[in-house]
């Protein structure tokens, strides 16, 4: 059914931006065709490239240096050779096995995946309802959703800490449990907002066609709306995964007492406070934390940028 439909309407601002990577460059000062300016232009252009290359070097050198160190031995890490004399993955092996970063990596993968899954489902379901279904109080409730964006998460530290340690009514102890972390991250308001905005841009014809075919609301959501919302879902997937993967604050609050639940960022902090100068291992752990997100970015660049700018500009 989805294959019969025309391409997705790229209406939200972010979506347009996402495409800009492939289309001609944005408007800049027009200098071509003005007599006498071509020579100066060439020089200016060369300078721009040189500066750009220098700046991007500045952005890359720290990563390069940490990768290089992660492949060195400890004595070698004290020196300043650009490349390790005898590159080995020893530090990675040490970090993963002896210092338990393998476990932390899996914890991070698990939490980021589950949280992303819940966000995808709940944000799209809620976004669909707010965009399409009519029910009394819809606007007020949506305003409430937006209101959550104004509550800084630090303010929630003590209440959430207490709530998770003894959940009201049920008396669950969720502090130090994966469930506690997942529960407070079930769905983000930004994600819900993003989905609603995206659904608003989809013409109603599709749903009406589905309705005539006898589909109910959930089926319409699942079979018609979701397949049309690919880019928004992709943006949410990447943003949520990255956000959870990099989160330091809540794992610190929830998991600090239980080493087996550490995520990579928490593990890195604990490792560094205990073995302050074991640089190769610390750098290996950092690379383990950075690389998956870089890879994600390289593969899904346009959704990434779309998500970030729309979350920001509109949210």
């Amino acid at each position: 059914m989805a294959s019969e439909l025309p391409p997705i309407p790229p209406v939200i601002a972010a979506e347009e931006l996402a495409k800009k990577g492939e289309v001609p460059p944005g408007p800049g000062p027009v200098t071509e065709g003005i007599p006498g300016r071509e020579g100066a232009d060439k020089i200016r252009r060369t300078i721009t490239y040189v500066v750009l290359a220098a700046v991007s070097l500045l952005f890359f050198v720290p990563f390069f240096w940490s990768i290089s160190t992660s492949l060195k031995t400890l004595p070698e890490a004290a020196g300043f050779d650009l490349l390790p004399a005898d590159p080995s993955f020893r530090a990675y092996r040490e970090a993963i096995t002896t210092f338990n970063f393998g476990r932390y990596f899996l914890n991070s993968v698990f939490l980021a995946s589950v949280v992303t899954g819940f966000n995808l489902f709940l944000a799209s379901l809620g976004g669909y309802a707010f965009a399409r279904l009519r029910f009394p109080g819809r606007e007020v409730l949506f305003f409430l959703v937006l209101g959550t964006l104004m509550i800084p998460h630090e303010l929630r530290l003590v209440p959430v800490f207490q709530m998770l340690s003894e959940f009201p009514v049920t008396h669950w102890n969720l502090l130090g449990s994966y469930q506690g972390y997942i529960l407070i991250n079930l769905v983000g308001a930004t994600n819900l907002f993003l989905m609603r905005q995206y659904f608003l841009t989809i013409p109603k014809d599709y749903e009406e066609a589905a309705k005539l075919d006898g589909a109910g609301y959930f089926k319409t959501y699942l079979r018609v709306m979701l397949p049309l919302a690919g880019p928004a879902l992709a943006a949410i997937t990447i943003l949520t995964f990255q956000g959870t993967w990099n989160d330091f604050f809540w794992p610190l609050v929830i998991f600090l007492g239980d080493e087996t639940k550490y995520t990579l960022p928490l593990g890195i902090n604990q490792f560094r406070s205990q073995y302050s100068t074991q640089w190769p291992e610390l750098m290996s752990a950092s690379i383990l934390a950075i690389l998956p997100i870089f890879a994600l970015y390289v593969f899904f660049q346009r959704y990434f940028i779309a998500g970030i700018t729309s979350a920001g500009v509109k949210g």
Binding site: F161, E166, G216, G257, D258
Partner: protein, 418 residues
Amino acid sequence: MKRGNVSLKLAALVVVLMLAVSIGAGVSAGKRTKGQGPVAAKAPSGTVTLSGWSVGATEEKLLKQVISAFERSHPRIKVTYDAIPNYDQAMLAKFSARRPPDVFYLNSEKAPTWIKQGLILPLDSYVKKSKFAVAPFYPKLMTAFRANGKTYGFPKDWNPLVLQINTAMLAKAKAKPPTTWAQLKSVAQKLRSVVPDGRPLCLAAEWQRMMAFVYQNGGSVLQGKTPTFTSPKVRQAVEFYVGLQKSGLGNSPAKLGAGWCGEALGKEKAAIAFEGGWVYPYLPENFPKIKWKFFPMVKGKQAGTLAFTAAYSMGTHSKNKEAGWELIKYLTGRTGMKLWSSKGLVLPARSDVKVKPPGPSRTPLLNAAASARAWSWPSGFDKVWTVANNELGAVFEGKQTIPAMLKKINDEAKDALD
């Protein structure tokens, strides 16, 4: 009509599913923690959970030996021991969840705060019921765990600050161990040539060390409810301690290239340190070639030093209190205490326990009992010490003056005592 039903059902199904997942998660979490402390209301039996902060391998091994000795003498009780990293926060989480371990370490510094919060169980009724003798415990250590006339824990051990001196260096400099402030200066002067930086004293920029000198000067920072940081006796002592650094006789461990003074001693960056019994077995294990001994703390106007202690306590919401009390009774009792202090890691908190541990003579430590005061302060004082140590760091760096520091700490203490 039909389609509406289907979607309604689906929606309902989804909601139910999600709820079930969350509840299932929660319940399993709840169950797991509950499973750790089966309730045994009256008879002292079952499993007792025991928690403490992470300690070195030697100490952990010793504690496990003591625990198995307890289990042998109390066959109906099984002890589950956990060393918890990030102890304070982890315990806060457990207290908050109303699921503290049955028995746990209580640091004398944290004790007032935790007691005030109602987290710690008063042990008086248990003491009375089992006729546990309190008299053998050193009274100065006991005060750290008493509040409102109640006892909230029994000290598991203690450790005072004394001198550790590299005896080889001392011999090389042809000097004798110092016993007074004046001698400390002159001996340090002689030792200057035998250490790499020419600063033989390791001086931590911490009130947890400097306070010993305040006591030696007859000073005190708290008179009842009034902070007296700005009193002349305190100021003189601080001037003396800081003066050792300013005059080039000593330096902070960080500046000497060590994490703490024990390490500075081990790395032969310093010849004299003011630490406690905990330098053993650290020094022989990490720096076996160093020749060193314990010496009595120097005297000022009077003998004085600082003692650190921790207790075994139970929580208000501990599950297995009866069996927990049995464990505390054993660990802090004569037999348990003797076994626990036999290896020389700590000193017995009871005057009726005499041990002959391996390693250097502990006499200087044991003799400190008479003049030592426990590091124990009113609730809310944690913050005062954070500020105080920060200020002292600034004084060491030359960014703050001593009178200004004392004034600032005094104000902070006033606020804390309000």
